[in-house]
Symmetry: C2
Subunit: 212 residues, 2 copies
DNA sequence: TAAAAATAATTAACGGTGTAAGGTTTATCT
DNA sequence: AGATAAACCTTACACCGTTAATTATTTTTA
């Protein structure tokens, strides 16, 4: 029965861990990744900055956790937009997925940039692998309608090189337009119209080219 | 005859200005935008950090100049890949342009991220307009084969809303794949093959859909 | 040419950052 | 209750951008 009770200490630890991440997310949303500071977090939480080192080995590790969380948040948004029930056609899903991706990105610009661009000073690509597996989960959701188009189970998609490449190309195509939009490079135009038009073009090419 | 000679002072000033920018570019290439520091530049150039304020009002302004320079460097790379002589077909140019864009991005990853993503702490989108006009120049070069496809003069492209939107969608489509690649999100795949395949798909859709 | 003005550099200092070291309180386990 | 370990604190170091006050140097003016 000793495992059931959670000691006062580790509950407090868990809660404080969450508070630190929440505050870091708050700072991220306010001023981007460069606005996140351990001292600021400590100030907001009424604790000293070095105390945070009990919870994270470094600022970099805290940011890594943010990346994972934000990636899973995007995955959730996609899941929500692509229900399991097959009552929506593949064509419909192939439009809904990029749409949901875009909606999340525009509502979470700072998080979007955090996920997709290394801007941290000493950050190499795959790190510990936490972020990679989170992104993999996100991609699995995004690929669902795409796999269905070709008649595969979503899990089997990784084993089909050609289809996987086609999916990644499809992903990159709308990702780029969104990346430009998120960073205000299309503010001078009606970016939503451009996006819709391009999705039609890309999905059209999908049907036309896919030679199975 | 007083305007012809360049006084000792302003020549030295011009050279030092260039040295500062060069050193900042060096730091950018080494560790990204967050690795650029006025103190470090001063150290490398054998001068105190506050002395740099004679040349730039703030670090932000120095970075703005870097953005402009890098954008024009990309524009030059595109110009070089798209010669004025019409001996290359439009189809050919529609492949060469994204290709050159990608080559530049992969050879200048830090510069690419600097141009397209706001990560600076207090940076709003258009600022003084220097970066906007540099980007506009780059886009004009990139749009050249695209305008030719539709039979316009490159300069007239801005006046045709529909064609401009189509161009921006086209741009965003390969920009995204490259953005993912630059930031190591496609390291686990043969990204070059994905890119080529997607360019074919996008350009194919271009011809198919464009209803003029 | 000598004085005056403008420019460019200096050092010192303020407030900010991540983080390492050492000491102290506090909760948990034996 | 005493031992142990976790969590927190303060202090300190080495960075950072930026401002202020000062000095040296160059250019301009009288």
């Amino acid at each position: 029965m000793e495992e059931a009770v959670e000691s006062r200490r580790i509950r407090h630890r868990r809660e404080l861990h969450g508070s630190i991440v929440d505050e870091a997310l708050h700072q991220l949303r306010e001023g981007g990744v460069s606005a996140i500071s351990l001292r600021g977090i400590g100030r907001s939480l009424g604790m000293s900055a070095p105390a945070i080192y009990t919870y994270f080995p470094s600022l970099t590790d805290l940011i890594t956790e943010l990346i994972v969380r934000c990636t899973l948040s995007l995955a959730d948004a996609l899941r929500h937009a692509l229900p399991d029930s097959p009552d929506s056609s593949v064509e419909r899903q192939l439009r809904d997925a990029p749409q949901a991706y875009r909606q999340w990105a525009l509502a979470h610009r700072r998080e979007f940039n955090l996920i997709f661009f290394d801007q941290i000073i000493g950050y190499s690509a795959p790190e510990s692998g936490e972020t990679v597996s989170a992104q993999s989960e996100m991609l699995h959701v995004l690929a669902r309608p795409f796999a269905e188009l070709h008649g595969y189970e979503p899990a089997d998609l990784l084993s089909r090189d050609d289809v996987l490449d086609e999916f990644l190309g499809w992903w990159g195509s709308f990702h780029g337009l969104i990346a430009l939009e998120v960073n205000h490079h299309l503010d001078w135009r009606n970016s939503e119209r451009i996006f819709h038009r391009q999705i039609e073009a890309i999905n059209g090419a999908l049907r036309g080219v896919s030679g199975d």
